[in-house]
Symmetry: C2
Subunit: 214 residues, 2 copies
């Protein structure tokens, strides 16, 4: 029986150089994302472990776990809007652009379910949280509006081109958002449900009031 080599549990992380303390902040966010991706609990201690750092080190950068989550939600909204716009701009035709936005929204929710939940699943405007941090909540709401604006504009273009009978684009975009959100959530939570293939197509067609060519 040979003696097993002691695995170096600590990958010998060493303090960041003088002015670079902010680097750990990013490492903490990355560690939290990694934990969520693995479906593990995100406690202050588990985050610290994942970041190969002692628990109190977190306090230098965040007030508490909620503060970390808020930072992640901020980034996530930016990422969502960026991906919606990017996918949209792959296309020229108004309907293709709208459908690309819808597809991108669902992809985002599917590929980063925990992040998506963080954005729209309760942290956003949880009654108690509102009173405690009204500024943060307002900011998140504004970022959600940015995402919605992409949908509003896509529907608007379809209407201009005579492809949609939408007259109140904001109102219809809201309905479409609601539909996409419901689909994103349920597809995630009810995986064994026999989802009809065209559900995504149906939602976009119906809620954006597209003329039913297909």
């Amino acid at each position: 029986v040979s003696v097993a080599t002691e695995p170096s549990a600590q990958p010998e992380r060493r303090p960041n150089p003088r002015g670079q303390g902010a680097r750990l902040r990013e490492e903490i966010l990355a560690a939290t994302t990694a934990l969520m991706a693995d479906g593990e609990a995100t406690t202050l201690r588990s985050i610290a472990r994942r970041a190969s750092v002692s628990a109190p080190a977190i306090y230098r950068h965040f007030r508490d776990v909620d503060d970390i989550m808020a930072a992640l939600a901020d980034d996530a909204f930016d990422a969502l809007v960026a991906t919606l716009v990017q996918e949209r701009d792959q296309h020229e035709a108004p309907e293709a652009r709208l459908r690309a936005v819808g597809r991108a929204y669902l992809s985002f929710a599917t590929q980063r379910p925990e992040l998506y939940r963080l954005m729209f699943g309760g942290v956003w405007s949880a009654p108690a949280a509102i009173e405690r941090r009204p500024d943060r909540d307002a900011r998140l709401r504004a970022m959600g509006m940015d995402a919605l604006a992409v949908i509003v504009e896509a529907i608007g273009r379809c209407a201009e081109a005579g492809l949609s009978s939408s007259t109140d684009h904001h109102r219809d975009a809201t309905a479409l958002w609601v539909g996409l959100h419901g689909y994103a959530e349920l597809r995630q939570n009810a995986r064994l449900f026999p989802w009809p293939e065209q559900t995504e197509h149906d939602l976009v067609t119906a809620l954006a009031r597209l003329h039913q060519a297909t």
Copy 2:
């Protein structure tokens, strides 16, 4: 200064009589519901406290907290289907019946948000949970199907009456369910969002393919 009367912390609960041990089971479920309604954590110990019982007493009736939640979800699905049917049957006209079902669905989700979350928000078919308790998951899924069936039928009646252009009622009911779910969730989570008044009406009209008389 008068001596404050010691409040009797224990409302002197006493063991149920011989054959009636099952009564505590109901009390545990009620205590859990009460905790959720108050937005408090539902741990084995907090549930026991709320039920005025020692923690180990729970084990006589449930394996763990998840088991309690599963029982609640069962009851909740029954209650949902019952309320959908009941509200539907208040009306005669097909469209009124369909809209009553949608309204009842949203009311249920609004009035019992924690219960609704329990039903559709992750416990239902959480990947790990499926493998651990396939039977329970299958049962919940079947109960969800019962609720969906009410929507399918309501859309079918509208189509028969020439009010809807739906040809695949199941497919359209699925889309409507998705929309209602998204609305229920987002209205709860994004309370400060300026919801257009007609969102509910829009969703039902569009997704059930109702001819737009209004």
